[in-house]
């Protein structure tokens, strides 16, 4: 949901003293370099002079809490660490600065993509997203209703982290392996080059986010009852979390399927999530069996495994089998358990008054039956 908030740009008579300001900025920045303390490679302007403070924050005019603190350690833990602040926040070229504009993830940044020797951009992601169910435009290129519900980058992604691992002894171990990196550093001695590539590549060899985080990011919209109503959708997240797939992930497994495993065709860009009525979709009725049987999932299964129902609501019309089975079991459980509970309760009560009775038995206490 891309809630466009007003960007605060006020006119404070900036054109005056422009030259003096520039000279001062230059001198000032130079001055600050000598005091720049952390290895924050991308911070040419020494933005962290202010942004390293934990309390740098305000409440915006639209009521949003804005925290401007940058955790350098966490920033340095992801692929964006090779970017300068200015690569994304392009409108900021001096200190102090006006409220920054919203970052456009589609812009080309200063990094050069090595395979094609072209400047890097997330443009292809947007193009893919626009082919998917999450595109804000319909087939004719017209805006769909409820524009604000269609996701932008930040609705699913916060700043990405590397999630490196190794399996030197056969067992997957999270983090950068000293053994592994030592093999790289034998030749690639310069700077953080080896670390970057090691972390980048190993992160890509598995899910870059823990499955539960993926599910949570889908849940942000798909579990919102108001959102479901607007788009006539089921509560797919809740129903998914009731499957063994969801439960295992909730308990920390990365082996069972999360949303993306079933809703993206194997080998496709993960941003290409299509509705179940689209013929190329991973969950189109004829494609489900192939999706279940993709590599590393139910490879050995037969096609008829696909008749398994994932998003089950206990709705009499839609899922009669589950509904009646559940009603049956619940009735059985209630009868058995509450029968014995009542029996035990009365038996305990009887122990408080062991000899009381409305009708005294004619037989004597010691009489043998």
């Amino acid at each position: 949901m891309q809630v466009a908030h007003s960007v605060l740009i006020r006119d404070v008579g900036m054109n005056k003293h422009v030259m003096t300001k520039w000279i001062a900025v230059f001198v000032f920045s130079f001055c600050m370099f000598s005091y720049s303390n952390a290895g924050f490679a991308g911070d040419e302007l020494n933005c962290v002079l202010c942004h390293k403070h934990r309390g740098l924050s305000r409440i915006d005019e639209d009521g949003k809490f804005r925290l401007f603190y940058i955790n350098q350690e966490l920033f340095d833990s992801g692929p964006h660490r090779r970017n300068k602040c200015k690569d994304c926040h392009t409108d900021i070229d001096k200190i102090p600065h006006e409220p920054a504009r919203k970052v456009d993830c589609m812009q080309e940044c200063h990094m050069v993509e090595p395979s094609g020797n072209i400047k890097f951009s997330h443009k292809t992601v947007e193009e893919t997203l626009h082919k998917s169910a999450h595109s804000p435009l319909d087939e004719d290129g017209k805006p769909k209703p409820h524009q604000e519900d269609y996701p932008g980058c930040k609705d699913c992604h916060d700043q990405p982290f590397y999630r490196p691992f190794s399996f030197y002894k056969g067992e997957l171990k999270a983090g950068v392996s000293k053994r592994g990196i030592s093999r790289c550093k034998g030749c690639h001695t310069n700077g953080d080059f080896a670390e970057d590539f090691y972390e980048h590549i190993t992160t890509r060899l598995r899910k870059s986010r823990y499955p539960m985080e993926t599910i949570k990011s889908c849940a942000k919209c798909h579990q919102d009852p108001e959102f479901q109503e607007r788009h006539d959708l089921d509560d797919v997240v809740t129903t998914y979390m009731q499957t063994f797939h969801g439960k295992m992930i909730a308990l920390g497994s990365e082996k069972t399927a999360d949303c993306l495993d079933c809703h993206v065709v194997e080998g496709e860009n993960t941003h290409l999530i299509e509705g179940k009525e689209v013929i190329t979709s991973a969950v189109y009725k004829n494609n489900v069996q192939a999706t279940c049987r993709t590599s590393e999932c139910h490879e050995k299964a037969a096609a008829q495994l696909a008749s398994y129902q994932t998003h089950v609501t206990y709705d009499r019309e839609k899922y009669p089998l589950q509904f009646y089975m559940l009603v049956g079991f619940k009735a059985l459980m209630a009868c058995v358990l509450y029968f014995f509970l009542a029996l035990i309760f009365l038996e305990l009560l009887r122990r408080l008054f062991p000899c009381f009775s409305f009708i005294k038995d004619k037989k004597q206490d010691d009489e043998v039956e």
Partner: protein, 271 residues
């Protein structure tokens, strides 16, 4: 028929024979596997609860706990098959054998013999159920006099006999889901899921309260009954729970003159 004496004396007190070592061992295997199954199954059933993850991690985590669960399930299924065979052998030896010797092998006699077994429900149980309700609602001051197996014990005994046939196959289908899909459609797994999780809930809720009340929480048992270890009941317990059987055993052993009157539930605690 048995190498066990119906009554033994220990420190001057009478103890009444209930279960052989073989049966006690089967019970140990049964409850160990059920406990392990519950501990490795319920965190998964209630994965969204805050206690689930720590408990599951304690039970081996997502890698090991499913293996433990399946191993314990296999043991339980094996026990189920073993016990059924054990029971059939006993039935053949003690009942069919008797009929054969007496040359009275007819369908009717076999059925009659079947119902004469101590753990099979019969008419006396129905009478006892009505009787206990009369007693609990204060329409009589005399509790029922149970035979060797009371109707509640029979219910406990047959609970696995309906639970395992539901839980076991469903568990096996969910375990070997890929292989099963070649003979069954995937929707069977939806059914198996409900069967496995709901029947397990019933079993666990029943065991942890009703069965544990009978053997742990009840005032005369607290903190724990010992018959599952020793195989013998005390005279008090016999009088309290199996008065009809107590009287029968005492008469059989020629101790007719020493038969004690029936207890009421805690009559000695009356004011």
């Amino acid at each position: 028929m048995s190498k066990y004496d119906p009554i033994v004396y220990k420190e001057g007190k009478r103890l009444f024979y209930r279960f052989s070592a073989h049966q006690r061992l089967q019970h140990v295997v049964l409850f160990s596997s059920v406990l392990i199954l519950a501990l490795t199954g319920f965190p998964l059933r209630h994965a969204e609860e805050s206690w689930a993850r720590p408990l599951y991690d304690l039970m081996g985590g997502t890698e090991l706990a499913p293996l433990i669960h399946r191993a314990a399930g296999t043991v339980l299924l094996a026990l189920f098959v073993y016990h059924t065979i054990y029971w059939m052998v006993l039935f053949y030896k003690n009942h069919i054998g008797k009929l054969k010797r007496e040359k009275r092998v007819t369908i009717g006699n076999i059925i009659r013999e079947f119902f004469s077994q101590e753990m099979v429900p019969n008419k006396k149980d129905l009478i006892d159920i009505i009787h206990i309700w009369k007693y609990l609602l204060y329409f009589t001051n005399r509790p029922p006099r149970h035979e060797r197996m009371s109707w509640r014990e029979k219910f406990d005994y047959f609970a696995p006999y309906w639970g395992i046939p539901i839980l076991g196959p469903a568990g096996v289908a969910l375990w070997w889901r890929d292989e099963f899909s070649h003979i069954m459609p995937g929707i069977v797994l939806n059914a198996a899921y409900i069967m496995h999780t709901d029947e397990a809930l019933l079993a666990v809720l029943f065991l942890f309260f009703v069965h544990w009340y009978n053997v742990h929480y009840a005032p005369e048992k607290f903190p724990a009954a010992t018959v599952w270890l020793t195989g013998y009941l005390t005279e008090d317990e016999m009088i309290h729970e199996h008065y009809a059987d107590y009287v029968r055993v005492m008469i059989e052993q020629g101790l007719e003159d020493q038969i004690q009157p029936q207890h009421f539930g805690g009559k000695e605690y009356d004011w």
